[in-house]
């Protein structure tokens, strides 16, 4: 339950210039308040060992996602459903502020929010992951490595995980004499929807999208909102010790949908080019 931790230091010149620029509705990297940084998505970067993989660069933030599909016994309360977990790891190579060791609460939050976005959107049809009810199911592990940290990891991790899942495949199986036999032949994962995460930050009374590391550090509040293809809100998380007003939340919810649709097109494009 740390209340103070080793965190990024934003010098007062940077802080002041971020704030004075925001007053004129501009940002230090010349973006508008509601512009994303350059988003690059690359697929199949780890072909040999993973079932699916993707690399995302959002500005200077870089994350790599890898999918492993294995088989496992199902949970007793969902005997006919497969299992999925999404986990993000802050690597010590990603920033001078990250140290090796067990995940801290920020990393746990990052993992859990990314997991929730994919889970709640029903992206993976877990019923289709059942091999033999109560005995054996597919288990999809999504692991995301943070390679370089420059803010808004919530979105970067989400895009990498989603793209990697869209690229992923798993072995087919047959059942002979009540015995499950895995085949070498592959099939794509049962995908139902593509969730897209959008993250906002509040500095003073200005709302910006896709905060970089400095902006994120001086922001008083942060909000991640995940929408699916049908324009439904599937997951949200507010972070940092500040708040939003009701009107701000309603405004953010509208922008989130628009930006989400734009990014979904980019993810679909990357998947199309990669497969």
């Amino acid at each position: 339950m740390p209340a103070v931790k080793k965190h990024r230091i934003v010098d007062s010149i940077t802080r002041e210039s971020i704030i004075s620029n925001l007053a004129n509705s501009t940002r230090l990297d010349e973006r508008g308040l509601l512009d994303y940084r350059n988003l690059e998505i690359e697929t199949n970067i780890l072909k040999d060992k993973t079932n699916g993989s993707a690399k995302v660069r959002l500005g200077e933030s870089e994350v790599w996602a890898g999918i492993k599909v294995e088989t496992a016994t199902p949970f007793p309360d969902t005997p006919a459903e497969g299992v999925m977990t999404c986990n993000a790891e802050m690597l010590p190579i990603s920033s001078q502020y990250i140290e090796p060791g067990p995940p801290n609460e920020d990393t746990i939050e990052l993992s859990r929010v990314s997991d929730r976005g994919i889970r709640e959107s029903g992206m993976i049809d877990v019923k289709e992951l059942c091999i033999k009810e109560g005995k054996q199911v597919y288990s999809v592990y999504i692991d995301v490595a943070i390679i370089n940290e420059d803010g808004n990891l919530f979105d970067a991790v989400s895009y990498a995980a989603t793209t990697a899942l869209l690229m992923a495949d798993m072995n087919k199986f047959t059942i002979e004499d009540d015995e499950v036999k895995m085949l070498d032949e592959k099939q794509p994962l049962p995908i139902k929807s593509v969730p897209v995460s959008t993250t906002f930050a509040k500095i003073g009374d200005k709302i910006i999208i896709d905060p970089n590391a400095d902006e994120q550090e001086i922001a008083t509040a942060r909000l991640t909102l995940v929408t699916d293809e049908n324009g439904k809100y599937v997951s949200a998380q507010k972070g940092k010790p500040g708040g939003f007003t009701f009107d701000e939340l309603k405004e953010i919810s509208v922008i989130s949908k628009e930006k989400g649709d734009e990014i979904r097109v980019k993810i679909r494009e990357a998947v199309k080019n990669g497969s």
């Binding site: 339950m1 740390p2 209340a3 103070v4 609460e105 920020d106 746990i108 939050e109 993992s111 859990r112 929730r116 889970r119 709640e120 959107s121 029903g122 509040a221 909000l223 909102l225 699916d228 324009g231 439904k232 809100y233 599937v234 997951s235 949200a236 998380q237 507010k238 972070g239 940092k240 010790p241 500040g242 708040g243 939003f244 007003t245 009701f246 939340l249 309603k250 919810s253 509208v254 949908k257």
Partner: protein, 239 residues
């Protein structure tokens, strides 16, 4: 809100809270404390401080630091919860701390720590909201300078209907759960989470409903405090 749309499992109206009772000052050794019973939830919150900071390097020279631990007892759930602190508990501790921190005037207590301990003794759905209500009552009971109380309540969607205060049974079959925490006098939302599936209309409606719930809880929190400090005479303003 129309009252007789689809009957809820609990028989509640769509905008009806579970039974809630809050009692301030239940733990003698704590500087401030509160017990909340929120449906089947039974949650104790205790506040210690402002006190010396340990470890020392965490001290901040111009303000207090807030520590918060949300902890579930192994007997609080249907199947025994393993006593190890889970990732879920770590995340909830963090979001609760971030939800109450804006209400605390931390600059009034430089070089100190304010500790909030939340113990879930029996859990039902919505324990994080109940915990925030208890924690903020306990903070006020401890006499910590605050800008406002923090009040929390969830709204959600069950059987296609947007409802207030989703309980455990509804959460399992329901389509969405959206807990929020609010500083009622500043209108600032300091906790906002969502999982499930909400359209834009449902999203806005759930927000409004959660606000109604928060307003009701704000009154209960104040009642609990005036019960302890003014023999239930509703504060000293009117006297």
């Amino acid at each position: 809100m129309s009252k007789n749309k689809i009957e809820r499992i609990s028989g509640r109206a769509p905008d009806e809270l579970r039974n809630v009772s809050i009692k301030a000052g239940v733990i003698k050794n704590a500087d401030g404390s509160a017990l909340i019973e929120f449906g089947k939830n039974k949650i104790m919150a205790a506040v210690f401080g402002p006190k010396e900071v340990h470890p020392k390097h965490m001290m901040v020279s111009d303000r207090a630091i807030i520590k918060c631990r949300y902890h579930m007892m192994p007997f609080s759930t249907d199947t025994r919860k393993r006593p190890n602190i889970s990732r879920r508990e770590i995340e909830i501790s963090k979001v609760i701390r971030e939800a109450v921190q804006p209400a605390i005037i931390m600059e009034d207590y430089p070089r100190t720590a304010i500790e909030i301990y939340i113990e879930i003794l029996q859990s039902d759905g919505g324990s994080r909201c109940a915990a925030i209500n208890a924690a903020s009552t306990a903070l006020a009971d401890a006499g910590i300078n605050m800008r406002d109380l923090v009040t929390a309540c969830a709204a959600g969607k069950v059987d296609g209907q947007v409802v207030l205060d989703v309980d455990d049974t509804e959460d399992k079959t329901g389509e969405a759960d959206m807990p929020i925490a609010l500083l009622p006098n500043t209108g600032l939302i300091t906790l906002f989470q969502l999982d499930g599936n909400l359209s834009k209309e449902e999203f806005d409606k759930a927000l409004e409903l959660a606000k109604i719930g928060c307003d009701k809880l704000y009154k209960l929190q104040r009642d609990a405090l005036s019960e302890k400090y003014f023999d239930g005479k509703n504060g000293n303003k009117e006297e």
